[in-house]
């Protein structure tokens, strides 16, 4: 009987630990995986960028020697240096796009799913195109062929740059939306507290006024983000890329100013709640169900 009870208690303990800790452990693991994955991709990109710069320096140095008719560098050796250099260029582009993709993938709120999938599909398509060029470069035996491939990569990079600038705008807007969403959820919770206070026969006019102000500020914030998104969407060429990106960022800077103001207002409502005490037992009885 004693043994049975021990088994029962151990079983109950295991079940309770699993139920309590399980969901949190999974959620934390997922978050850590996302952060770890991005850190890895980012490091990979930065390393490749460093290698690209190094290979460019090697190629330029070798070309300089070759053009001075130095016997130290043959045309075959220089071609190999050039191939290595262009391959590093492609790899850096691919790593950059991968870093962008991971950013977009992990922005699971703030970007419409359809839009996110479309961006990811475009990035994947660009990465595949670049990877195909790597194989072509490997088979090159003449400089003219390598120059031709290099020109095609340059042409491809132009629209990629434009899209990348737009995607960064999308990410910045999405991130700002997340902050707004965070404040809105906090606001909802305060509204729930107001209901409880009303049920407790307390005056709530002051907190309601503060919430009204918070609503107004969040509304203006959203307008600024929407304006930013519209401007980012207009990015369409190398000529307007920088100026429109700057305009979009200006809207986001304005949005962030309103976010800070919203947060100040939000803190006022929290301070107001902090002063309150619940007196009515009936209100306390319903609080659990109200806030669920």
């Amino acid at each position: 009987m004693k043994q049975t009870l021990t088994i029962a208690l151990v079983g109950a303990f295991i079940v309770s630990i699993t139920l309590f800790a399980g969901p949190n452990v999974i959620a934390q693991s997922n978050d850590a995986a996302v952060v770890g994955n991005y850190a890895k991709v980012k490091e990979g990109y930065q390393n490749t960028l460093s290698e690209y710069r190094s290979s460019r320096s090697d190629f330029l140095s070798a070309r300089n020697k070759y053009q001075k008719k130095s016997s130290a560098v043959s045309s075959e050796q220089l071609l190999e240096q050039a191939k290595k250099y262009i391959q590093k260029t492609i790899m850096t582009m691919s790593k950059y796009l991968e870093a962008m993709k991971v950013r977009v993938e992990s922005m699971n709120a703030g970007i419409d799913e359809e839009k996110r999938n479309a961006i990811i599909a475009e990035i994947n398509s660009d990465i595949a195109w670049l990877q195909e060029k790597l194989g072509q470069i490997e088979r090159v035996t003449e400089n003219s062929a390598l120059v031709s491939i290099s020109d095609s990569i340059r042409e491809k990079w132009t629209p990629i740059r434009i899209k990348a600038k737009k995607y960064v705008g999308v990410l910045l807007s999405a991130r700002t939306h997340q902050t707004i969403s965070k404040l809105e959820q906090a606001k909802t919770k305060i509204e729930e507290y107001i209901v409880l206070l009303e049920e407790d026969d307390q005056e709530v006019g002051n907190i309601e006024n503060i919430l009204e102000e918070l609503n107004e500020k969040l509304k203006v914030t959203k307008t600024q983000v929407t304006n930013a998104e519209k401007v980012f969407n207009r990015i369409s060429s190398p000529d307007n890329m920088q100026s429109l990106f700057k305009q979009g960022k200006d809207f986001l800077t304005s949005a962030n100013r309103y976010i800070r103001e919203s947060w100040q207002v939000f803190k006022s409502s929290v301070s107001e709640l902090n002063k309150r005490r619940m007196n009515n037992k009936n209100s306390m009885d319903v609080e659990a169900s109200s806030l669920e």
């Binding site: 996302v34 962008m100 922005m107 991130r175 965070k182």
Partner: protein
């Protein structure tokens, strides 16, 4: 027969604990997890809508304070600074495509 009773005791024991946990979780853990940051400075803000009113004062004459500790931890500066991180991380690299010689 004895084995059967042992099994029943185990099942009842586990069921009681599981039921108690389930009951408390229903009222206790409505966690709204907002993944606000996916960079290396990842932040997850948990707005924990639970135990909203906690009796920390046994003196009923003064009423029961509202537990707003979860609201007090909400901040926006990290979110805002994350924008600079995103932009810096994804700054477009410059390439030179001239491989002619």
């Amino acid at each position: 027969m004895k084995n059967l009773s042992n099994v029943i005791i185990i099942i009842i024991g586990i069921s009681v604990v599981a039921g108690a946990i389930w009951f408390f979780q229903q009222g206790d853990t409505k966690i709204v997890n907002i993944p606000v940051n996916t960079s290396e400075n990842n932040i997850n803000v948990h707005i924990n809508i639970n135990s909203s009113i906690v009796n920390v004062n046994s003196n009923t004459n003064e009423g029961i304070p509202i537990d707003i500790s979860d609201l007090e931890t909400i901040e926006v500066e990290t979110d805002i600074s994350d924008l600079s991180t995103i932009e810096a991380d994804l700054e477009l690299p410059e390439f030179d495509f001239d491989v002619s010689f």
